[in-house]
């Protein structure tokens, strides 16, 4: 359970408060001790769906909930009544917020051995609560970008020694692209891009979306692949691209066995817009 500092923003004279925090687990719950007239998903949120639970004396257990997502705010006064207790739990009637998405901050591929290096891009929650007049609510999140420094792929380590995984939070993004650059190297490298839809309590099998191959040549190479949620069917390389919405994007970089390490960098951009 995490406390937010919404009352500090009231004392500072602001018309809104913002909760932007890295999610530590799928069970993170945030307590809000200030009433709001609207709640919406902020521009920098990785989690797309957020569940809001609030005190409602008309309900049998005294609690009511709603799910907000980008473009679908909760417009209406939600009360934090700190001088009252929720009958079912005996706790103060605060507003509670938690991710409705399954947050896979510890995702591992269900197959062994695991890649020697796993780069996990942190997942953030961004929630904005409005105290005063609600002017305009953004309908989409801002684009999420991640650029690695130069990674040394195939440098060894525990697990699968010549394999590196990058785990990127996708959570209902509708369009994403992966660009891989490789410095001149004699070692060939394969890149596999896959996605995962998480279910409770399981590390689900990733679904392959596409792949790139880098030959061992002495020139710099850059390749990219992009995907849209509404795209299904075969791509130009006759690779089946399942469309849809996903929770995690996995970019696996793998050198040929015994080839040695090779430098590479990866840039991932995910967007709520398909156009």
């Amino acid at each position: 359970m995490h406390q937010t500092q919404a009352s500090d923003e009231v004392l500072r004279g602001k018309d809104f408060w913002r909760l932007r925090q890295q999610l530590e687990s799928a069970g993170d719950i945030f307590e809000i001790d200030e009433s709001v007239i609207a709640l919406y998903v902020g521009p920098d949120s990785d989690a797309a769906d957020l569940k809001v639970t609030y005190f409602d004396p008309a309900q049998p257990n005294g609690l009511q909930s709603a799910v907000i997502s980008p473009g679908t705010p909760f417009n209406g006064r939600l009360d934090a009544l700190l001088d009252q207790a929720i009958p079912a739990t005996g706790q103060k009637a605060r507003i509670l917020v938690q991710p409705a998405d399954i947050i896979g901050v510890t995702y591992l591929r269900p197959v062994l051995p695991q890649p020697a290096v796993i780069v996990r891009i942190p997942t953030f929650i961004d929630l904005i609560g409005v105290f005063g007049e609600l002017i305009q609510v953004p309908t989409q999140r801002s684009d999420r970008q991640f650029r690695t420094p130069v990674l040394t792929v195939g440098a060894g380590g525990t697990g699968f020694p010549n394999s590196t995984d990058i785990v990127f939070p996708l959570y209902n993004r509708r369009c994403w692209s992966v660009e891989v650059s490789r410095s001149p190297s004699a070692v060939s490298m394969d890149v596999d891009i896959s996605a995962v839809r998480l279910t409770p309590g399981a590390n689900n099998q990733p679904v392959s979306l596409g792949s790139m191959s880098f030959a061992g040549i002495s020139v710099e190479q850059t390749q990219s692949l992009s995907f849209r949620a509404c795209e299904t069917g075969l791509d130009s390389a006759d690779v089946q691209r399942p469309g849809g919405l996903w929770d995690l994007l996995l970019v696996n970089l793998q050198t040929t066995a015994g080839g040695g390490p090779t430098p590479a960098s990866v840039a991932i951009t995910a967007s709520d817009r398909e156009g």
């Binding site: 004392l11 200030e34 009433s35 007239i37 009544l81 700190l82 009252q84 105290f131 005063g132």
Partner: protein
């Protein structure tokens, strides 16, 4: 009766009003203004009913809730819980105005920390009018009372004769 509300208001001369509004300053100090306007921000406390102000004179109070509330105000000594209906809820972002007579108290309650813009403005002319009205009212009541006492008959002989009874026709 010449003492109407308008004439009572006219009677309050500007000089008298000024002397009432501005207290005597101490030697060497600039003149102080008594009936001043107060503007500040009030932050509510969690739970309970708090005394917001006691009107030392007639006051116009303007409150604007700048946060989501709920915040209730009222003149009863206990208006909590905030949603009990014992007070009135302040709307968000809209100025609410109350006129408090001298001696009235205004209470406030909330269930979370909220920000309320608070403006009080003294109404000295209303104070003066009220005083005049109450003075004139007592004069009127006294005059009516004396009229009644003066016109009261002392015995049955002072009363006028009764009119003859109506005749009954066949």
């Amino acid at each position: 009766m010449p003492n109407t509300l308008a004439t009572a208001a006219r009677k309050v001369s500007a000089a008298k009003e000024l002397s009432r509004a501005v207290p005597k300053a101490k030697p060497g100090e600039p003149a102080l203004q008594k009936n001043h306007t107060e503007i500040y921000t009030y932050f509510t406390e969690i739970g309970g009913t708090q005394l917001l102000l006691t009107a030392q004179e007639w006051l116009r109070v303007r409150l604007t809730l700048e946060t989501a509330g709920p915040v209730a105000v009222g003149t009863r000594q206990q208006i909590d819980p905030v949603l009990s209906g014992k007070g009135v809820l302040l709307p968000v972002g809209q100025e609410v105005e109350f006129v408090l007579p001298r001696g009235d108290r205004l209470f406030i309650t909330a269930a979370s920390i909220n920000r309320v813009k608070f403006i009080t403005e003294a109404i000295p002319w209303l104070q003066a009018i009220t005083a005049e009205i109450s003075k004139n009212a007592s004069t009127i009541v006294g005059a009516l009372g004396s009229l009644v006492r003066r016109g009261k008959p002392k015995s049955a002989a002072d009363l006028p004769p009764c009119p003859p009874p109506p005749r009954r026709g066949r």
